[in-house]
């Protein structure tokens, strides 16, 4: 079934807003919608350096930096181990989508079983197999401006960290998507993208949404324009939230098959699959609205 949530804080003290805590609170309420895997994507204050995250197979140690340097021709630096792999800074020379695709391929082909799970200046993604509470020690203290979360009930494709959401829209920087539903023309869409040399981390249909949107953004469309271009190409059921460095966007399929509710105040925007998550975060006396069938909307963080 899957559960999704999003949070965006408007206004001044943005970078210190309790994005992690808000996502943890909402995710806990939505846990019953899927216990196979979970994840959170947080946008914090932009770093000067672009970095990427790599998930390694369980038990694999971080390879020697010199070894990785050889694979990636020196385009990575500052390797730091994480709970499930490592992060590294990306050379400022690697900016085009094709050079980023090459970099990702260099890592994934030379470190078997590794998956690059995010890339950007302000985006970090945390994913786990099993219950979302496993992420809470890491995620709850995180502050930032906005973020999204996912609880997965797998209906197809493997259950492992690479197939957990939110999915980074590779290879475009600072874009992630959390999706409830099933994109039924995924294989056709994927074929077209692969013909243009785009690559995928998984065989999961949800992954394609962020890639399609990222492509439009890279061509100069704003988020609203990108959604209006991409949505008509999607077939199937969906409620999804896309997060970029600018803010959040949502969409719901024409039959409203999957739920999507939100609350907007002067301080924040909270989005969730079920009302309990919004009440738990914001109390009983809030005005909950529904995203309408076929509707898409965007909110900027400023």
């Amino acid at each position: 079934m899957c559960g999704i949530a999003g949070i965006l804080y408007f206004g001044k003290a943005e970078e210190q807003a309790p994005v992690g805590q808000a996502l943890a609170t909402m995710s806990q309420c939505l846990q019953h919608r899927g216990a196979d895997s979970a994840g959170v994507a947080v946008f914090g204050s932009p770093n000067i350096k672009t970095s990427l995250q790599v998930v390694l197979p369980a038990g694999m140690l971080l390879p020697e930096p010199q070894l990785i340097d050889g694979y990636v021709k020196g385009f990575l630096s500052g390797y730091r181990p994480t709970d499930d792999g490592f992060t590294a800074n990306v050379s400022p020379l690697v900016t085009s989508p094709s050079s980023r695709t090459e970099l990702v391929a260099a890592i994934e082909q030379n470190i078997p079983g590794s998956v690059v799970t995010s890339l950007g200046n302000s985006l970090t993604i945390y994913k786990t197999v099993g219950l979302v509470q496993r992420l809470f020690p890491t995620v709850s203290p995180l502050t930032g401006t906005h973020g999204i979360a996912h609880l997965r009930l797998a209906t197809e494709s493997r259950i492992d960290p690479a197939h957990a959401q939110p999915f980074w829209g590779r290879p475009y920087a600072d874009i992630a998507v959390t999706h409830n539903g099933h994109i039924t023309n995924y294989h056709k869409l994927r074929q077209k993208l692969e013909a243009r040399d785009l690559t995928f981390a998984s065989k999961n249909d949800s992954e394609i949404i962020g890639i399609l949107i990222g492509e439009r953004l890279a061509e100069g469309r704003d988020l609203s324009g990108a959604l209006s271009d991409v949505i008509p190409t999607l077939d199937g059921s969906y409620s999804f939230i896309v997060a970029t460095s600018q803010g959040l966007g949502v969409a719901r399929d024409p039959f409203a098959t999957k739920p999507l509710l939100f609350v907007q105040t002067d301080e924040l925007l909270a989005i969730a699959s079920e009302q309990q998550a919004l009440h738990r975060l914001l109390g009983e006396h809030i005005r909950i609205q529904e995203i309408q069938p076929k509707e898409f909307r965007t909110w900027v963080k400023a």
Binding site: P259, E274, Q275, Q276, H279, P293
Partner: protein
């Protein structure tokens, strides 16, 4: 029934415990009344109660509240999620706020009154009874209604009454669009009487003549027996 049994705090209880309490209360006799507090938007509250019982729920509920019930009278002071009063056989369910998608799904009798708005597919596959919506109704309201009445005091979303059988929709506000084979028709004396009764239950100042009626055009589900050859193939 003792005072201490009359109000149940849902906090900390499983749904099974809450519904067992309600079933026991219903066993006490037809004049029993109970109150639930702190429902916390949880799913499946008050499901499967098939003896008369008066239930007041203070707060919001999640999906499938009062599903599969027969003869209960339920008042919800709050909003509900999806599938409210699904398959109600008889009784009354009244919501002060708004209901999510598929309110009154496949209900067979009784009255469902939502003072606020309803989400998409309200009254889907209804087989009897009456739904009254004080506010606006969402997308594809009355989809595949077989029988029964839906009264909408506000506006309706797209595809109103799509694929109707003998169900009837009455709408006071604007219709975004009619669904497949849904057509407008004239009100008759029976409609006026039904509307007067239904409107008395909602705190809306409206008169039956404010409403338009939507019924099936009957082109989708009739076939010509002379075209038997086509149907022989299908069967």
């Amino acid at each position: 029934m003792g005072e201490s049994l009359k109000t149940l705090d849902c906090a900390g209880l499983t749904i099974r415990q809450i519904n067992s309490f309600l079933k026991e209360a219903a066993d006490h006799g037809p004049d029993t009344a109970v109150t639930l507090i702190n429902p916390d938007s949880r799913h499946n509250i008050a499901v499967g109660i098939t003896k008369p019982l008066d239930i007041l729920i203070e707060g919001n509920v999640g999906y499938y509240c009062t599903g599969l019930c027969d003869g209960v009278t339920v008042k919800i002071n709050g909003d509900t999620g999806w599938g409210l009063a699904e398959n109600m056989m008889s009784g009354l369910v009244m919501v002060s706020g708004s209901a999510g998608s598929s309110a009154g799904a496949t209900m067979r009798g009784g009255r469902l009154i939502v003072n606020g708005d309803t989400g998409s597919r309200c009254g889907i596959a209804m087989k009897g009874g009456t739904i009254v919506v004080g506010g606006n109704a969402g997308y594809m309201t009355g989809f595949m209604m077989q029988k029964g009445n839906i009264v909408i005091c506000g506006d309706a979303g797209e595809a109103l009454g799509d694929s109707l059988y003998e169900g009837k929709l009455y709408i006071r506000g604007a219709i975004r669009s009619l669904g497949s084979d849904a057509v407008e028709a004239e009100l008759n004396a029976d409609d006026i009487e039904m509307l007067a009764t239904a409107l008395a239950e909602v705190s809306i100042d409206a008169s039956p003549s404010d409403f338009r009626k939507v019924v099936s055009g009957k082109k989708l589900y009739n076939f010509n027996t002379k075209e038997k050859e086509i149907w022989k193939l299908a069967l």
